[in-house]
């Protein structure tokens, strides 16, 4: 029998990830928000940005969740093909979510959609939701905790465009989605767009883009250009922070990814992340070394 990897280490590390995510913005996000506060000229949005910067500062200092909506628990688990055998990772992550709910604390956010009632510990049917991927050639296990707020999630949108609508249709749908969202998803937002594949695939690709660091452009120059153009266009709407009117603070970034599509369909998924862009990633190595990629351990 081959030995299996230490689940307690995975559990403890995941609790740490959730604590990091809930209480400390990744550096790229906090820096971008500070810069935005400097750059904004409209007083209402500037006041909101000032409060946001003050807020995540105190949250970090006091290890308190930066937003009361500590999100629904989503994980991205990337398994290095050469990582040792792990058994029962799903149960381990469920335990971590339940523990973090008490220890951080995080708000219980798992509600039964059929009969109502909150499970009280952020676990439930299919929740936490775990996305699995393999990393060819890698020997580590990479886990991202991505607690996702409901206010911005409610503004996500899917369009099954006609292939003839093409790139123009895609651009229009993104802007229409932002027009519809206005101040509701707690701007400044990050917009993740997924194109092609299928209905679920477009949204999944879109959401996965929210893991990319701010400012990072797609490797395909055409897509990179589209990201920049859409970012500029979204800020031209002038919604600003919290929809209070602002000239540079509607969006922090736009990220796009595509998959090849069926000849008959052009799905576009628009996912929206609020300023409280909480994500924390770690790598666990076979020798039990843990490396946090987004946060520093005190």
């Amino acid at each position: 029998m081959t030995e299996t990897f230490d689940n307690n280490l995975i559990e403890d590390t995941t609790v740490k990830l959730l604590k990091f995510a809930a209480t400390q913005l990744p550096n790229d996000v906090s820096e971008a928000l500070k810069k935005m506060y400097e750059a904004e000229t409209k007083p209402t949005s500037k006041a909101a940005l000032k409060t946001i910067v003050e807020n995540f500062g105190i949250a970090e200092e006091t290890s308190t969740p930066m937003c009361q909506d500590t999100g629904i628990h989503i994980y991205y688990v990337n398994i290095g093909e050469n990582f040792p055998k792990v058994v029962g990772i799903e149960e381990t992550l469920r335990k971590a979510s339940a523990r973090a709910t008490k220890e951080v604390p995080m708000r219980p956010n798992a509600v039964n959609p059929i009969v109502g009632g909150n499970s009280g510990d952020n676990t439930g049917r299919h929740i936490p939701f775990i996305n699995y991927d393999f990393i060819p050639g890698a020997d580590y296990l990479e886990i991202t905790a991505f607690p996702k707020g409901g206010g911005s999630e409610n503004m996500c949108a899917l369009a099954m465009l006609k292939p003839g609508q093409g790139i123009k249709g895609i651009k229009k749908f993104v802007i229409d989605s932002i027009m519809n969202a206005g101040g509701q998803p707690c701007p400044p937002v990050i917009v993740g767009v997924g194109i092609g594949g299928g209905a679920d695939i477009a949204l999944k690709l879109g959401k996965k883009q929210l893991m990319r660091p701010l400012g990072q452009r797609h490797s395909d120059p055409k897509i990179a250009q589209l990201e920049e153009d859409l970012l500029k266009a979204i800020n031209m709407t002038g919604f600003g922070s919290m929809g209070l009117g602002g000239d540079v603070s509607t969006a922090l970034d736009v990220k796009i990814e595509y998959a090849h599509r069926h000849p008959a369909s052009l799905p576009v998924g628009v996912t929206i992340q609020c300023w409280a862009a909480r994500r924390a990633t770690c790598r666990i190595y076979p020798d039990k070394r843990v490396e946090f990629l987004t946060h520093k351990e005190a």
Binding site: P43, N55, T70, L244
Partner: protein, 201 residues
Amino acid sequence: MAEYHFTTPISKEDVQKLKIGDVIYISGIVFTARDEAHERALEMAEKGEKMPIDFEGLAVYHCGPVVRQVGDDWEIVAAGPTTSTRLDMFEDEFIKEFKVNVVIGKGGMGARTVKAMKELKAVYTAFVGGAAVVAAKGIKRVKEVHWLDLGTPECLWVLEVEKFGPLIVGIDTNGDSLFQNVADEAKAKLGKIGEFLDITF
């Protein structure tokens, strides 16, 4: 952008001074109510049942806080606002029935609430969405909690607050809405945006 400091109860005369874009801070009592608490309060009122506290002149806060129980007491850990538009279906009735003159939330509210606020002389103020720690700083203690069976995010928290804010006036008693104005301006910019992206709206 004028700044005002109010202590509850806040009167109709007080709120009639306010214009969209003004900033206010509240001291006194604020209570939380999200979807389920709004629904329950209105259902109870319809049956002629008494509310656990008198809401008149208080501010209603669209918020589901993160709380921690310490012995018999509750501590508010984080308490930012939730999206207010979900409450549009209740709010006109709610402010009429319970004489609440200040609504606190995020993201603004729709035409139905704007109309009610003009008629009934109430204001909507926006707390910065997600700024839960700044909000918690203004909350001195939990005075009472009711309807815990709804769960801690949805139940009715009665909070003692001091200089709770900044709250940006989003809908005033003249029927002006900052959010509507911003949305109208965004719409007016669609032509330019279309030109830039080489598309038509």
